[in-house]
Structure formats: structure tokens, C-alpha cells
Symmetry: C2
Subunit: 299 residues, 2 copies
């Protein structure tokens, strides 16, 4: 790339704000907006141009990153009034880093192509801490020349950056990841509640399992917090449930039953009451504890 792309950010939430900050730090010219504009203020102080709408972001950018919550949100900021499409010149590259439906992603790619701009889906894994420390895993769907164009920017945001395949492939890979995340959490939850019911030392049990064939990222990182009763997010149940609904919708569209994923989703649903959805996804153990009346805590 002969000269540095001008970069836009739409969506400055828990993930988008630190990502925009990392692009700024790396020397990109950044234009940003957010539904709640006050949220953009700190970025302005750090050198970004803050504007009122995604349209204005697009007018001032070669590459625009969207980092919002849902498929309708992406549609609104991309194709809605004052959206990216209204401000995009021919060849603009819109990279959606939200986690949304692969089906919607493919439809958005078609609509963008008709309007003369390009898209990539590039959802991430690694959470707020990964965004802050630029250690995100980034799963990309779209065309190779657009991936090449995006790479200098993406390398300032993440560490493991993989071009999975065509439009939607990044989202599909992210959803496959969420299946593993949710079901591994279920494995940790049932193993620890069983151990508690057996009355055995929970921390020793966790250590032995974490050292062998029953290990998982969740057993190593979440289980100690579960045993301590620390259910702060991390990754909120409400957001994981949004992702699991995307998984199940996409799976059911192909008549692919995912019984373990359905079970995890159902158990999480029981936790989404009275603000429980704002806890971290590791709180899944509470569902197994409620069912059994046994708590797995080290005190």
C-alpha cells in the first residue's frame, strides 16, 4: 500500500474504543462516531476526528470498521439514513468486526457491491482485554485483495489474523468458536458441581483436570473464578446468548441439530433473569448448581 489508509470507526463500545485507540497509536488518521457521542470524547483528545454520523465517517475514510452489537445495528449504520453507504466513495472498504449472522453478512456484501464499495467480515475473539492489548484473534471472510488492503490496520488490532474464506466465513468461524466456548463452560460446570456433590477437594480436582485430557481454556481460566464465586464479565451472558441464537438460527436453516449448544443456550436462558444476563458467561455453573441445589465454591 503506497500510503497509509485513512481509517474510520463506527461503534466505540467496550471493544470499539480500545481498537480505535490502537489504530490511532499506530499512526493511522482516525475518524470516529458512536451512537452516544459523549463516548467519543476521550478519543478526540487523543487525536481522532469525531463526527456525528457513519456517513461522515465514510466520507473521510478509505477503510471503515464497524463494531456494534447485532445484524440490525450493522444494517442501520451501513445502509440506513446517514449510514456508511451514503458517504462511501467507490472502492471504500467496510470491515464489520461485530459478531453477526453469516447469512446477513453475505446479503450485506451483495448490497455493498451493488453500491460500489467493498466489505469484509472480521469478527474477533479475545474480549475487552484482547482489544486493549491488541491481542485479538480476527477471523476474516471476503476477498483476498481486500484482506491484503485491511492487513496493516488489522495487525494493529490483533495477533492471530486468519483469512477463513469468502464473505460470511469469518462470521461462521466465530460462531463455531462460540459453540466450543459455551459447551466447554458446560463441561467445567458439570465437572465441578459433580465434584462438590462428591464432597471432594475442588481446587485439587480442578488442578488435576486442568493438567490432562479434560482440560480446556475454561478449566484453566474460568474454573478458578467459578470456585471463588467471581462472576464478573469478561464476556456477558446476554451477548453470548445473542451469539448462540445466531449459531442456532444458522444451524437450523441447514437442518443441523446441535443438541449440546441448544442445551447450553437453554441453561443460559434460565440465568438471564433479574440482571443475571449481565454476569459473565462463566456463570453457567449457577444453572447446574440451581438444578442440583449444590454449590461448588472454595471458601
Amino acid at each position: 500500500m503506497p500510503e497509509r489508509a485513512r481509517v474510520g470507526f463506527v461503534g466505540l463500545g467496550i471493544m470499539g474504543l480500545p481498537m480505535a485507540r490502537n489504530a490511532l497509536k499506530a499512526g493511522f488518521a482516525v475518524t470516529a462516531t458512536n451512537r452516544t457521542l459523549a463516548r467519543a470524547e476521550p478519543l478526540k483528545a487523543e487525536g481522532a476526528t469525531v463526527v456525528a454520523t457513519p456517513k461522515e465517517v465514510a466520507e473521510r475514510s478509505d477503510i471503515v470498521v464497524t463494531m456494534v452489537t447485532s445484524s440490525p445495528d450493522v444494517e442501520a449504520v451501513t445502509f440506513g439514513p446517514n449510514g456508511i453507504a451514503e458517504g462511501a466513495r467507490t472502492g471504500l472498504l467496510a470491515i464489520d468486526m461485530s459478531t453477526i449472522s453469516p447469512l446477513a453478512t453475505r446479503a450485506f456484501a451483495d448490497r455493498a457491491r451493488e453500491k460500489g464499495f467493498r466489505t469484509l467480515d472480521a469478527p474477533v475473539s479475545g474480549g475487552e482485554i484482547g482489544a486493549i492489548e491488541a491481542r485479538l484473534a480476527i477471523m476474516i471472510g471476503g476477498e483476498a485483495d481486500d484482506v491484503a488492503r485491511a492487513m496493516p490496520l488489522l495487525q494493529t488490532l490483533g495477533k492471530t489474523i486468519v483469512h477463513i474464506g469468502d464473505h460470511g466465513a469469518g462470521q461462521a468461524c466465530k460462531l463455531a468458536n462460540q459453540i466450543a466456548v459455551a459447551i466447554n463452560n458446560l463441561g467445567v460446570s458439570e465437572a465441578l458441581v459433580f465434584a462438590a456433590a462428591q464432597g471432594i477437594d475442588l481446587e485439587k480436582t480442578r488442578q488435576v483436570i486442568a493438567g490432562g485430557a479434560g482440560s480446556s481454556w475454561a478449566m484453566q481460566n474460568y474454573a478458578p473464578k467459578m470456585l471463588a464465586g467471581d462472576f464478573k464479565p469478561g464476556f456477558m451472558i446476554d451477548l453470548q446468548q445473542k451469539d448462540l441464537r445466531l449459531v442456532l438460527d444458522a444451524a437450523y436453516a441447514d437442518h443441523v441439530p446441535l443438541p449440546g449448544t441448544s442445551l447450553a443456550h437453554a441453561l443460559y436462558t434460565a440465568l438471564q433473569k433479574d440482571g443475571g444476563g449481565g454476569e459473565g458467561n462463566l456463570a453457567l455453573i449457577k444453572a447446574i448448581e440451581r438444578l442440583s441445589g449444590i454449590e461448588a465454591r472454595v471458601r
Copy 2:
């Protein structure tokens, strides 16, 4: 320990034979027996004394290891005709390294105490390769002085050796481990079949998931074999099903529902036809493939 304990092995199967061999190599005097005596021949050539019954093993040993399949098997070789109890002098230590019921284990400990000999439960994780290479994880239930007595022997058989708690605690920990193993396999299976249904690159998807919060021992070690269609055991489904039944029996006895474990057990049940139970436990993916009609293979 002033002098080296004389060690006996009852059960020279896939696990017992290499374990007895490691004890021999470490310089222990070994007496061994097996239901099918021919299986003991190679051990004789390597310096072990081979006898016809567990009773004779006990007569010649200070510590006797049992490594058989099920709770009834342990009961038979320990308390049945020509069993360990008949040959045990006061203070003999019987270490059961099979995976059996924690409830049965506690009952066996009581019966042994009445007869004047001691017991430990010390089930292992790590499979045939772990047994051969003396890298087993060993989870111990029983009394501390017996654990101390067993330690020089156990250190020749395994690497991670943890005294979990009282009689049965080793078995309970092993069963908790099996919960995590089975459910993590389900997570890998559903993630890969979903990815296959989405038509995305399976090896890239696996790599990204294995590098992040969806990772597990199964994603790192089993998923490549699943994608290659290599379902050789490893750890046979029939044996894992035996363990999962122990889990569910022990859990139901306390009215602890384990919905994910029950689901994994049910899916494995579907695979136990026409010799399918002889495949490795990673073949769980075949159940999800059958349900969906989609195969997750890299060819």
C-alpha cells in the same frame, strides 16, 4: 521406607502391563497375574514372577496394584475366591488403579479394614501412551500414611500424583475428569460439524478456535484426527461409556442432574452398535454427523 516394597500387579491389560513393566524397570520385585495368563508371559521374560491367582500375588507382595475394568472385577480379584484378601497379611496395601464406582470403593475400603489390610483408590488419566511413558496423572483417595507408602511405586508409574482426599475421592475426581472429557468432545464435535455445514475451511477454523477461548485438550489433540477420519482408540467408547454410567449413577444417587453428561452419554450410546464402541471416544463427532447428515472431514 527402609527397604523396597515387594509389588504385585493384578490385571495386565492395555494399562496394567506397561505399568508393571515400569515398576520392574525401576527395580521393584514384581509378582503378577492376569485372567488370561498368556498375557503375562512377556513380563516373566523381563524378570517378574508370574503366578496363577491374586491370592498368590498377595502372599508374595507388600503392595498389590489392581488394574481391571469394573467394580465387580475389583470385588472379584480382591474379595472373591483366590482373591487378594485370602493371601493378604496384616498391613498389606491394595491400590486399586482401575476406574470404578466411588461408592463401591468406599465399601471395599471398609471390608479390607475389617480383614486387616489397607486400600487406596488411585485411578489414572493419560491412556495407554501415558502408562507406557510413565506420565499418568494419578488421583488418590485414602489415608495419608498409605499414600506415603505408595509414593515410591506411584512415582515410577505417573507424573502428576495428587492425594485428593479420603477413600473414594480419587475415583470421584477421575469421574469429574471424565465429565469434562466427554463434554469437551461434544463441543469440538458440534463446532466442527457447524463449520462443515457452513462450508468453511475446517482446518483454519480448528486452528483459530484452538488458539483462543474455545480451546481444549480435545480441540488440540482430537480435532485433527476427527477431521482426518481417524477414530482409532486412544480411549475406547465402550470404556468411556462405563465411566459415564459411573458418573450418572453417582450423581443420581445424590439427585444431581448433569444434563450435558447425560446428553453425551446418550449420543455415545448411539455409536455403540456394530462394533462402534471399539472406536475412540473422539468418534462422538459421528453422532452429530449422523443427526445432521453432514460430515466434517478434510480430504
